[in-house]
Symmetry: C2
Subunit: 82 residues, 2 copies
């Protein structure tokens, strides 16, 4: 079971999601796309046939950007998808 | 204008696609998903709001894998999407 991890340089949240099938991966990405549009947050996503890695950067600029409650809220809504 | 680039270690084809809007990115990914299912080829894809990077590995295993006509055919069909 993977969880969100807070990383530095740059500050970001990351989580890996794994799926049984390509269809499962696509369903997740479709719902994530709707969530992104409704919350206007667009994480960087890497995916293949049965996985997706999300990287969420805080909206603040520069080296002093910090993970905010908004970031954690978005992450928790992504968790609700799967 | 970006083109497919053949890279080594591991052997692979890579191309970056850029879009004006998130909707354009999503449309591309949706059509790419249909192409992947119909050809049973699943490249690794990294994308954000207005870009997508594709990495296509040849289907052969190991260090001696080589880019084949099938790989170039899939790449050319991806090019037809955008």
């Amino acid at each position: 079971m993977h969880q969100w991890q807070e990383k530095t340089r740059p500050v970001r949240l990351e989580r890996r999601f794994e799926f049984e099938t390509y269809e499962g991966t696509r369903d997740f990405l479709d719902q994530l796309g709707q969530l992104s549009e409704s919350m206007q947050r667009f994480p960087d996503i890497s995916f293949g046939k049965t996985y997706a890695n999300l990287t969420l950067m805080p909206e603040g600029e520069g080296e002093n950007a910090e993970i905010t409650n908004d970031d954690h809220l978005f992450a928790s809504k992504v968790d609700e998808i799967c």
